[in-house]
């Protein structure tokens, strides 16, 4: 079929298949892809609302045994700059988030063998006790699988226990590309196969949770594999209707083992647009300004995105890989309005909460995203000693800290 015929079919609202999507992705001019994506965005969101959320992106630990080769964030067990945040540190971050008008943490971290399921349960319980209305959008599918393996409990039971102590929704991280050939090459097959990732989401949706879906492209996958990823998400969404949104971003290569270079801005806009065209059962597509910068982030609104994502407040993962863009609420709103849309605050369920908070009350400006910890802070989480150590490195660290204490008192 010609590009024009395919474009006509998309404009008529027809669902396209894998071959048709590939034809468009490979051969349609960028303006055609953008025009189709924009028309779909307009059909799904005729009110011209563009939403965003005020939440904080917190990484509770950078210690990880998965060792994905595209990741610049993790530290191996026992590394001197490995960290686990203490509960008080997390509470402080929540206080700051509330001050900025936020009501949710996006909480994700490494696969730390010394944090058992009980650590998460105690943390979630403590958060909900102190901040009953505060939301926890937490633990991407590979983290859930990691906890399932550590605790030797099936995934549905892990989800049930986490929901029991306050888990509100699951972020779609760790999807990378949902094709096992790619996952093996990225050394992330063992953390979760494509089926395992999708299965966690299936269970979460069956348990009544809403989740997001993501795609990190631009490593070693082919364009066909990128599309395979998007189609697998569409299939699961047909089955469960549990995804609230899709977010795609480009692999950030700096300081990673895999290296290489980042996909370009036009690649990003084309990928976003084809996702908007294929994912006819997804209501929302987010712009990834944190990887593309504010300018291309804003241009996303012309290529199918209807959401500017989060103000983030804090970011550690993308920054570790070389990108450090910042947009506070004022800047997000300015960009949304400049593109001719109406900015609205939302929650994770994409329910509109209201107008920009800074127009209701004074909110401190945020010109730089915070980090998990200040440089040189090597303090140990005070809670971690309550749980049995699993790794040899952690056991040794505890022995030496006990000897230190004995030395000081002896």
């Amino acid at each position: 079929m010609t590009i024009q015929k395919l474009a006509d079919r998309v404009m008529e609202g027809a669902r396209i298949d894998r071959d048709e999507a590939l034809e468009l992705y490979l051969h349609a001019p960028t303006a055609v892809l953008g025009g189709l994506a924009d028309a779909i965005r307009a059909r799904k969101h005729p009110d011209r609302l563009v939403t965003y959320i005020i939440d904080r992106n917190v990484n509770y630990t950078n210690v990880c045994v998965a060792r994905c080769n595209f990741c610049a964030f993790y530290r191996p067990v026992g590394a001197p700059d490995g960290y686990v945040l203490g509960f008080e540190e997390i509470f402080r971050k929540i206080d700051e988030t509330i001050e900025l008008g936020g009501g949710q943490l996006l909480l994700q971290g490494g696969h730390n063998p010394d944090l058992p399921l009980e650590w998460y349960e105690d943390l979630f319980r403590a958060v909900k006790q102190r901040y009953p209305a505060f939301r926890l959008h937490a633990l991407s599918p590979p983290e859930v699988i990691h906890l399932s393996r550590l605790s030797r409990l099936p995934v549905p039971q892990v989800i049930e226990r986490l929901v029991g102590v306050g888990l509100d929704s699951i972020p779609g991280g760790g999807a990378e590309i949902l094709v096992d050939r790619v996952r093996k090459l990225l050394n992330c097959y063992s953390k979760a196969t494509a089926d395992e990732w999708l299965d966690v989401m299936r269970h979460a949706h069956l348990a009544g949770l809403r989740t997001t879906a993501t795609m990190m492209y631009g490593t070693v996958e082919t364009l066909e594999e990128r599309l395979e990823h998007v189609f697998r998400l569409r299939d699961l969404q047909d089955e469960t209707a549990g995804f609230t949104a899709f977010i795609t971003w480009s692999y950030q290569p700096e300081h990673t083992e895999l290296g290489g270079h980042e996909a370009t801005g036009v690649d990003y806009l084309r990928t976003l647009a084809i996702a908007r065209i294929v994912l006819d059962n997804f209501d929302n597509l987010q712009a990834s300004w944190v990887t593309q910068g504010g300018k291309v982030g804003q241009l996303s609104l012309a290529y199918g995105a209807n959401d500017m994502g989060s103000v983030m407040i804090e970011e550690n993962v993308v920054r570790a890989a070389g990108a450090s863009y910042c947009m506070d609420e004022i800047e997000i709103v300015r960009n949304v309005e400049n593109a001719g849309f109406i900015p609205k605050r939302r929650n994770m369920h994409y329910e509109v909460l209201g107008d920009p908070i800074f127009r209701e009350r004074a909110v401190p400006r945020m010109l730089e995203l915070a980090v998990a910890r200040t440089d040189g802070d090597t303090s140990r989480s005070p809670e971690i000693d309550r749980y049995a150590a699993r790794s040899a490195a952690e056991k040794a660290a505890r022995r030496s800290s006990a000897e230190d204490k004995a030395g000081r008192t002896g």
């Binding site: 303006a31 025009g35 270079h261 996909a263 370009t264 593309q292 241009l299 012309a302 960009n335 593109a339």
Partner: protein, 299 residues
């Protein structure tokens, strides 16, 4: 608004041009894709997929080094910065000229040369002639909003033997640049000889920077309005690869400011050349390296 853009598109398809009020209508619209496509049509009629770029070695006029990097592959050595006096400018040109060999040497902003010359057009012409004698070949920046009486100043520089091939914008005025793009078109009509117009402002407010929509629409308007100037240029270093690449799909066809030295910013794995070529090709365009004289270089 769509009908306004539709009417402009109709006129353009019949070989017409746009005027200032059309330019304002385009800057007012939020239909970015349609605007980009209009400008891309014009660009493709003029250049097809050919996309030129040049590597530039920037040397600050306050501290010209004793030598240039080995095996330097640059289309231009550019003296940047504002010298404190005419003598300092001449000395910088002499020092740089001794190093550049066959690489074209450009330098200074025409507005700064005006200020250094002090007097009127004659004084400017005299200073330009002295700089030409010292080895300067072209003016590096001619921002139409920064130069007093741009037409007379450019003519004076050219009489003195300096090339002035590119018109630029230093800061966006309240009318979002439409008057400046119109001025560039008029200068080309009256003086001729301009190869490129760089419409994106060289300075931008840090608290209120231009947005992606602003930049892309301005590039598109420049392409549509200044059809008598062959190329619309974006600056790789100033605007960054992502925005510059998108601009290439919305009317721009020339990239300035690609680094001639590996800064390490791109990591050890990718050279500036691989980066620029990769970006142009990823936009389904064909990269052609050029030098400051607009001659194609390399393979």
């Amino acid at each position: 608004m769509a009908s306004v853009i539709g009417a402009i598109a109709e006129r353009l398809s019949q070989g017409g041009t746009i005027d200032a009020s059309d330019a304002h209508a385009i800057l007012d619209t939020h239909d970015l894709i349609a605007v980009g496509a209009l400008a891309d049509d014009v660009r493709r009629r003029m250049h097809g997929t050919r996309t030129t770029f040049q590597r530039v070695l920037e040397v600050h006029c306050d501290g010209v080094p004793a030598s240039l990097p080995d095996a330097l592959a640059a289309g231009e050595v550019r003296l940047v910065g504002c010298p404190p006096s005419a003598e300092a400018a001449i000395a910088a040109v002499r020092a740089a000229s001794a190093l550049v060999g066959a690489i074209p040497l450009s330098g200074f902003a025409l507005a700064d040369l005006q200020a250094l010359a002090g007097g009127g057009t004659d004084a400017l012409e005299q200073l330009c002639a002295t700089l030409r004698g010292a080895g300067l070949q072209m003016v590096a920046e001619t921002s139409v909003d920064a130069v007093n009486d741009a037409g007379a100043a450019i003519a004076a520089a050219r009489r003195a033997g300096l090339l002035v091939t590119t018109l630029a914008v230093r800061a966006l005025p309240a009318d979002r640049g439409v008057s400046l793009l119109g001025l560039a078109r008029t200068l080309q009509d009256s003086l001729g000889g301009f190869r490129a117009l760089a419409p994106l402002p060289r300075t931008s407010s840090t608290s209120l920077p231009t947005t992606g929509y602003d930049d892309v629409k301005l590039v598109a308007v420049a392409r549509l309005l200044a059809t008598n100037i062959p190329s619309i240029q974006v600056d790789w270093a100033l605007y960054g690869p992502k925005l510059a690449q998108v601009a290439l799909t919305a009317g721009a066809d020339d990239v300035d400011g690609v680094s001639a030295v590996e800064t390490g910013m791109l990591g050890p794995r990718r050279s500036a050349m691989a980066e620029i070529r990769g970006n142009i090709e990823a936009a389904a365009l064909v990269p052609v390296e050029r030098n400051a004289r607009w001659e194609a270089v390399g393979g």
